[in-house]
């Protein structure tokens, strides 16, 4: 798929550094306006439009420099536009539930990019682990804390105001500008890409992991187990924090006599006055 024109293509896909600078400044200003603050909604919508326009101009510049086009390129632009726009909404939405759902959109778009890069298994794993497992955990915690902060329908008070949006955007978009500058400036110095791997990528990946990274794979399993146990320990509710004791005597932490455990519906003097659920 990658022919002799690839090296010359890499040399062509350059953008003037000034253009990157201006676009990063414009996108930064748009993001400052987009972040939640003490301003009305129309102002934030304008900021979002400015940031989006900067992204589109950058995409147009990059697309113009990549002269020979192929049919699959459209998917790249669609997926990356969805990923970047959803990421902007993640950091700018005032309600955490919507932030989490927009993050799912970013993950799905990234999975699309992975498919374009012939990483089929990683795309599936990303959807399963990120969008499936991790984000569901996030949504659970968000629901658990749904009524915190005393806010109204808009969300909690601390979600409505960004902290130091100007300086944060200055730093963040400076980092982005530097990275984009390096990426597009050094693109001509890259060697030609290797040939696309043919065959069953999932099978190859499994064999590669077992053959070359066996110990790392086992360590990853150990790390997950340790993290799971640690999360249980950290979030455990201690006995002193539990429901108020009926008998008036504080329950001793070291008392592990099973007959002293309060049970609903028994003659135990320290039984609870309410069922467990």
């Amino acid at each position: 798929m990658v022919g002799p024109h690839a090296a010359q293509l890499l040399g062509q896909a350059l953008i003037a550094p000034a253009a990157i600078l201006v676009l990063c400044i414009v996108a930064g200003v748009g993001t400052v306006m987009l972040l939640p603050g003490r301003r009305e909604g129309a102002f934030r919508k304008i900021g979002g439009a400015v940031a989006l326009a900067a992204g589109l101009v950058l995409a147009a510049l990059v697309a113009r420099s990549a002269v020979p086009r192929s049919a699959g390129d459209g998917y790249f632009w669609v997926f990356s536009a969805i990923a970047v726009a959803a990421a902007l909404r993640v950091i700018s939405h005032t309600r955490p539930v919507y932030s989490a759902l927009y993050f799912v959109l970013t993950v799905l778009a990234s999975a699309g990019l992975f498919v374009l890069l012939h990483a089929d298994f990683m795309a599936a794993a990303l959807v399963l682990i990120y969008a499936g497992a991790i984000l569901v955990t996030y949504v659970f915690v968000i629901m658990l804390a749904a009524n915190a902060g005393g806010g109204g329908a808009e969300g909690a008070e601390y979600d409505l105001y960004a902290r130091e949006p100007v300086w944060a955007c200055a730093v963040g978009f400076a980092v982005m500008g530097v990275m984009l500058f390096v990426i597009f400036d050094k693109a001509g110095a890259l060697p030609a890409p290797a040939a696309v791997r043919a065959g069953d990528s999932v099978r190859d990946l499994g064999l590669y992991l077992i053959k070359d990274h066996l110990v790392s794979l086992q360590l990853a399993g150990v790390l997950l187990t340790v993290a799971m146990v640690g999360a249980v320990i950290v979030a455990r509710r201690y006995l002193s924090e539990a429901a108020p004791d009926v008998s008036g005597q504080p329950a001793a932490l070291g008392d592990d006599n099973p007959h002293n455990i309060p049970v609903f519906g028994t003659d135990n003097p320290r039984q609870k006055q309410y069922p467990e659920t």
Binding site: L9, P68, F76, I134, A156, R163, M228
Partner: protein
């Protein structure tokens, strides 16, 4: 890799990382802070996969698996800590914890 070349994917990864960085600094909600770290992870993952496809080997995908493992471990522990902190002060505001005293 098609005509859309390596640096396009690297640019997407860089933009995702920078947006996550901005969000991590500006937002006050503990859960959204961790969502922004996951955004930064996304940028890194796109970079890893793009380099793996560019070099034609599987190291990028293998590293992505390990990054996913670390992200899962981090999410479980971080959310456990968030639940603990929420139980203490009944708020998710990160500014409440700026002095790190219980």
């Amino acid at each position: 890799m098609g005509v859309v070349a390596l640096q396009h994917y690297l640019a997407v990864g860089a933009i995702l990382f920078a947006i996550g960085l901005v969000g991590f600094v500006t937002r006050r909600n503990l859960i959204v802070l961790f969502l922004c770290t996951e955004l930064m992870f996304q940028g890194v993952l796109v970079n890893l996969i793009a380099f793996g496809a560019y070099h034609g080997n599987l190291a990028g995908q293998a590293f992505t698996i390990f990054v996913l493992v670390v992200a899962a471990a981090e999410a479980s522990l971080a959310l456990g800590l968030v639940v603990l902190l929420f139980r203490r002060r009944n708020t998710l505001n990160a500014d409440e914890w700026r002095d790190l005293r219980g």
